[in-house]
Every structure is written in structure tokens, then in C-alpha cells.
Amino acid sequence: MTADSYEDVATGKNDTIPPLEVQPQDLYHAKSFWTRWIFCQDAKVIGVQYAITAVSIGLVAMVLSWLMRIQLAFPELVPFLGPAEYYQFVTMHGMIMVIYLLTALFLGGFGNYLIPLMVGARDMVFPYVNMVSFWVYFLAVLVLVASFFVPGGPTGAGWTLYPPQAITSGTPGGDGLGIVLMLISLSIFVVGFTMGGLNYVITILQARTRGMTLMRMPLTVWGIFTATVLALFAFPALIVSCIMMTLDSLLGTSFFMPAIVEFGEQSDYSGGSPILFQHLFWFFGHPEVYIVALPAFGIVSDLISVHARKNIFGYRMMVWAIVIIGALSFIVWAHHMYVSGMNPWFGFFFATTTLIIAVPTALKVYNWVITLWKGNIRLTIPMLFALAFIVTFVNGGITGLFLGNVIVDVPLSDTYFVVAHFHMVMGIAPVLVVFGAIYHWFPLITGRYLHEGMGKFHFWVTFLGSYLIYFPMHYLGFVGVPRRYYEMYESPFITSSTVSLNQFITIAALVVGLTQLLFLYNIITSAKLGKKAKKNPWEACSLEWQTADVPPTHGNFGKELPVVYRWAYDFSVPGAKEDYIPQNVSPSEVPGAEAEKT
């Protein structure tokens, strides 16, 4: 049914709108194995490539964390692990997890796969650049891994890479190639992510299908979109600090290096400021944590609404909150520097902005929970992970309020309280969303369900286990146990009960860690042997479930792009027969709709 003109549609003569005469995207067509699977320009393939690379390097970081925990709790089991190795593991674990796993997975993995599908596009707007961006990321990972094999080993400066220690001889990798390779790897990563980020942002802004306004996009897209904008503005600060530190290390400049006496020897440096590095790093670093968190916020909103069969409560406020959180994230960075020796008057300003940013974040939490109220909740595995996210995120966000209040940060800074806080809010909560998202979209990507029994086991052990790891850890921080300590060795201050708690945490960590291997096994076997899923098995509304084929093929939607007639959350619409109406269903096609919704 086609309209003669838009005026016909506007006056209601018929209400289906012809699909957009879209400039056929210059969809390249792969001709060989190499261009089909390796140098592929299809965003879905690139998304999977990002995901596999990110998870692989993430597994390395997870094993490093096991070794660190064993050293802390049962040092006699790891005699080969000296302080230098320990600090190298601390650094690589942190850097890999934050940047090479979480950022790459959320933006590169989920972004690439879901954005074109959810906005109704055939692919990203610059497919060639998109393909190059993955290989640049891959190169960055290779350079990072190479730093393990250079003389002196990888850098052990902590993921925050503070100078002067990062480039002096008292730190592992400091006076060798270790730190330089890390800095180069980060710079390469930033270049790659600028290329990718361009794609995500411009595809969302310009390549949506007919009828898909910005406010009809699912919150997943809003989360990834805002995160990408943040990345484009924040990553330059990281690459600037990397360039300056590389010059300090290799060419003896003094951007960050004051005059120091290294083990009795006067240095040639003078006049630099270590605090300048901290400002640059955290100007990047704080938006970075929101780059990880905002996609998680968006995804969890969609998981909750689909599995509770209810529209996300307060969609407008949710979008506003995402945008405001993104904007505010640029004026809170120095809350990481309260005890850095910076001008103490900055403490007043940054404490205020930090606590202000808590307000839109709290709003989002309220809206998630109110979405559940009077819902029709299916306790599927994605829903379980979403619920666990709320518990862990509220917990982690609240401990952030402790630390954001400048005077409370004074006793707690650099203790295990901080470690527990950031693991809970960045390690556990977004990763629970990643797991939920994988269970949710697995039927789309492979056409099969993940095994449910293994999934439930994975969920309970991961959720309860992680909570048991990090909740008590906050109390170690109250005791005053500092972070980045290779060993605690008993002193009047660090009692035997502290050591016992450490041991408990380590055992929990190992159990949770091993369970992830079960999850991997589930993914690998279910991809081929899992129970087959029908199209749109969760009965969701958004466009990615409306592809012509499952799994979606090149071009995503077959011959005609979908036309969008409604927002992404028409669940349980009064008067409609089904409890969901997909976005591309026009009002006249809705079964059982006697009257339009009131």
C-alpha cells in the first residue's frame, strides 16, 4: 500500500508510508575469503572481531588478577611472583580491563553490531574506515602484549601511569621499553577509536531509516552514542599525556618531570609538573568511566523493558539523564586528585560537581526500578542480570558518593575502599550487563539460545560471588589497608583477621573466575548445538529483531529498509492483542487495536 503523497498520509487517508528512497549504501560486496571474514567491512563482522579480541585479552587480564589475589592471600603458592611482577600484573590487569576490554567491547563490539540494526541502516556510513579501525585496535593490542616480552618486562606503574615513578628505575619497566610500549599502544588505540567513533556518531545522526527520529531510538543507541561523543572529546587528553610522557622518557624533556634525585643521583630533568599529568590523565579518565557506564545504562534499560513487558519509565528523563551525565562528566575529574597536592580550593568545586552528577544517575536508577512496578516480569537470564546490575550499581554508585565528598576521600583514598568501589561500579555492574546482553542477543547473532541451566548457574555464582568479593573489601578500606601493596605482612596494624578476609576474597574470586570459563564453554557450544530460537524470541520491539534473516545477513534488512511508526517501547499497549508492537508496524496493522491508545 503506497501513499500518493505525504499529504495523503498526513490527513489519514492511509497510514503506511513508503520506505525511504534511500541512496543505496555503497555496500561493498566481498569477493574472497579475506574480504569476507578478515578484512570485512560489514559492521556485524567487525563487531564480532572486536568482541573476540576484547574478550581474549580480557581473559589474560583475568588470569593476572587470579595470580595477584593468590599472592595477596596465599603467597607461598606463587614463589615466582615478586614485587616487580606483582606491580606489572596490577598495571596490565587494570589497563586491559578498562580500555582494551570494556571500552572496546561496549563501543566496538556492541556498537558495531547493534547500531546499524537498531537505527534501521544497512551498515555504518564509512565501512572501510570502520574496518581499518578494528585492525588499528588489534595492532594496539599486539603492541601491548609485546611489552610483556621486552627486557625489563611490561610497565608496573599502575594503570594510572603517574610520573615520575612511571619512567624512573624504581618502577618495573620504568627505564626501559615497558612504559614506552604501553604509551605507544594507548596512542594507537586512540587513533583507532577516533576512526570507529566517527562511524558510530555519524551513522546514528545521519543514517537512520525513515520515521526513526532521535527520540524513537532505543536507549541502547543513546547510551552508545553519548559514550562515543565523550570518547571523541576525552581521548585527545590521553594521547596528549602519552606523547608528553614518551618524550620525557625517551628524549629527556621535562613536561612532567621535576628535578629529582634517583637513588642518590641527580637527574637532568627540571621544571616539570607531575600534577599536570594527573590533570590530563583524569580529564580523560573520568569521562572514560562514563564511556564504559553509559552504554551499560542504555543496554540495561532495554533488557528491563523487554523482559518486564513494560515501556521504560520516563524515557525522556532517561535520555536527558544520559546527556547530562555525559556533559557533567567533564567537570568532575579532579575528584581523583583530592589528595594529590593540587590547590585545596579545587576540592570545594569538584566535590560539588561530583555530588551533582549523582542526581541524574540516581534518577536513572529510580526509573529502572519503577519500570518493574506493575510490570509483567519474565525472570529470564537477561532479566536476572539486569536486576543484579541494579543492586551492584547502586552499591558501587553509593560508595562513589563517599569518595566524592572530599573530606571523606581523605582517609579512604588509596585504600581498598577505592579498589572495592571501582570494581563494583565498573567491573561488576557493567560486566553483568555485558553478560545479560550476550544472553539477550545471542539468539539474534546465532539463531540459537544459550543453554539455560549453565546460564542460571553462571548468573548466581557470578552475582553472589562478585558481591561477596567486593562488598567486604570496602571494610578493609575502613581499616585503612592501602592499595597496591604486594604483601600485607602482619604488623600490629594489619591483623590476622584482615589476612583471613583477604583469603576469603581470593577464594571467592577464583570461584567466580572459573565460572566464567563455563560461560565461555556455553557460548562456544551453544553457537552450534544450542536450542534453536524462533525469530524475535523475546518479543521485543526494536528493529534489530525485524531483519529478513536470522542471523542478519549483509545489508541487514533485505530489499526494503523498515519504516518506523512508533517509539521503541510499545509494550503492553492497552487495546492491542499482543503485549508488544514492533517499531515498524503501522497503526493500522496492529492486531486487535480497536482504538488508538488513549
Binding site: 505525504y6 498520509v9 498526513a10 497510514d15 508510508i17 525511504l20 534511500v22 556510513v125 564509512f126 577516533t194 566517527l198 556518531v201 555519524i202 545522526l205 545521519q206 543514517a207 537512520r208 531509516t209 525513515r210 520515521g211 526513526m212 527520529t213 532521535l214 527520540m215 524513537r216 571523541l232 572529546f233 581521548f235 585527545p236 587528553a237 594521547i239 596528549v240 606523547i243 608528553m244 618524550l247 628524549l251 629527556g252 624533556t253 621535562s254 613536561f255 637532568d268 627540571s270 621544571g271 616539570g272 599536570l276 590530563l280 515501556n311 524515557y315 525522556r316 535520555v319 536527558w320 546527556v323 519504516v563 518506523v564 511508526y565 512508533r566 517509539w567 517501547y569 488508538e596 491508545k597
Partner: protein
């Protein structure tokens, strides 16, 4: 059918509202009235601007300290600046020629621009060589460090521009096979980027002269 809406109006819409839905159904799918190439270029320029601004901010903060020693001004830098001006002028010429479908002219202009860019880069390297032989090492003084950093980063951006210049040249090369629309588009994007690099250079150069 597309009204110009600002971001606040967009975010205030109620997408579930049936009257809003009727308006939204007409939406063509784009938010900004720019081609994707132009929008992409703007993003790149924006990211680059933030990148250079961060250096400039730290530079301004550092130069007020007593141990700052100004660098000498090699006259070659002025020559290089003139080369950049000339490049932009030639590019404007090329843009006009491409508008008038005179593609032979466009080809020649582009070749000249490529040559000028190489001349500029070589000129910058010569300046470096001059300064190093006169003892102005990068580690000697923060003002030296910033000079080398500014010139190096600007040069790297120009090298990146040359990659795109190469794509542009390829599109204009074979006279029988030209896709006119694509050539005009690419030439324009390349030109804007070149003007952007000129602006960046003027700011950096000006900063170093007047500090």
C-alpha cells in the same frame, strides 16, 4: 518537511504521543543538514582542535615560569608559512576550477599542492636540523620541547592530509573515467582540511612568536 530543531526541542518530544508520532512518521532519518563526508570532516577537525588546544593550554601555563627561554626565530619558518598560505590559495583556485568542471586544471592544481606540501615538510625538517646544529636540543628547555612537539604534530596531520590528497588525485586522474559528483565532493573536503591545517599552524606559530 524538515524543520530546524535544536537539541532542547528534540529532547523534549514525547515519542509515545500519537500526535507526535504522526509528525515523526515523516522523518527522513537525518538530523544534521550536512553530507556524511562533511560531517565526518568536521568531527575530525573538532577532535584535532581539542588535541591542539590541550597542548596550547599546557604551553601557556608553562611559559610563565622563570626557566623559560625563548627560541630563536629561523627565517625558514616564515618561508614555510608562506608556502602554506600559497597552498591554500591554490586550493581555492582548484575548488573554483572543479565547480566549473575544468578537471585538467584541478589535476594540475592538486599536483602543485602535493609538491608544496612536500616542500613544507622538508622545510620543517631543515629548520629542525638548523636548530639542532646550533644546540637547541629538545630536552634543553621546555620552549624547545614545545616547538618540536608543535611542529611534529602539525607535520603528522599534514601527512595524514596527504593520504586523502592521494585519494583525491586518483579520482581526478583518468580523464575518461571521472565521476564528476564524487570529484567535486572530494576536492572540497580536501581543501577544507588544508585550510584547517593552515589555521592551526597560524595559531601555533603565532603563539610561539608572541610568547
Amino acid at each position: 518537511m524538515k524543520k530546524k530543531e535544536n537539541i532542547f526541542q528534540i529532547l523534549a518530544q514525547k515519542p509515545w504521543d500519537p500526535s507526535q508520532a504522526k509528525i515523526d512518521d515523516m522523518h527522513e532519518g537525518g538530523t544534521i543538514n550536512l553530507s556524511k563526508g562533511k560531517l565526518g570532516l568536521r568531527f575530525i577537525m573538532f577532535v584535532s582542535t581539542i588535541f591542539f588546544c590541550l597542548f596550547i593550554v599546557t604551553y601557556s601555563d608553562r611559559m610563565i615560569y622563570p626557566d623559560w627561554q625563548r627560541m630563536p626565530e629561523p627565517w625558514l619558518l616564515w618561508i614555510n608559512t608562506i608556502i602554506l598560505f600559497f597552498s591554500s590559495f591554490v586550493f581555492i583556485n582548484a575548488q573554483i576550477a572543479s565547480k566549473n568542471n575544468k578537471f585538467e586544471k584541478v589535476k594540475n592544481r592538486l599536483l602543485l599542492i602535493g609538491f608544496l606540501a612536500l616542500a613544507f615538510l622538508i622545510g620543517q625538517l631543515l629548520v629542525w636540523q638548523q636548530l639542532i646544529t646550533n644546540g637547541y636540543y629538545v630536552s634543553a628547555n621546555p620552549s624547545n620541547a614545545y616547538f618540536y612537539v608543535f611542529t611534529a604534530l602539525h607535520g603528522i596531520h599534514l601527512l595524514g592530509g596527504l593520504v586523502y590528497w592521494n585519494i583525491t588525485i586518483k579520482k581526478v586522474w583518468s580523464p575518461n573515467d571521472i565521476e564528476i559528483y564524487k570529484v567535486k565532493y572530494t576536492v572540497e573536503l580536501c581543501a577544507i582540511y588544508w585550510h584547517f591545517l593552515l589555521a592551526v599552524w597560524l595559531v601555533l606559530f603565532g603563539l610561539m612568536i608572541f610568547s
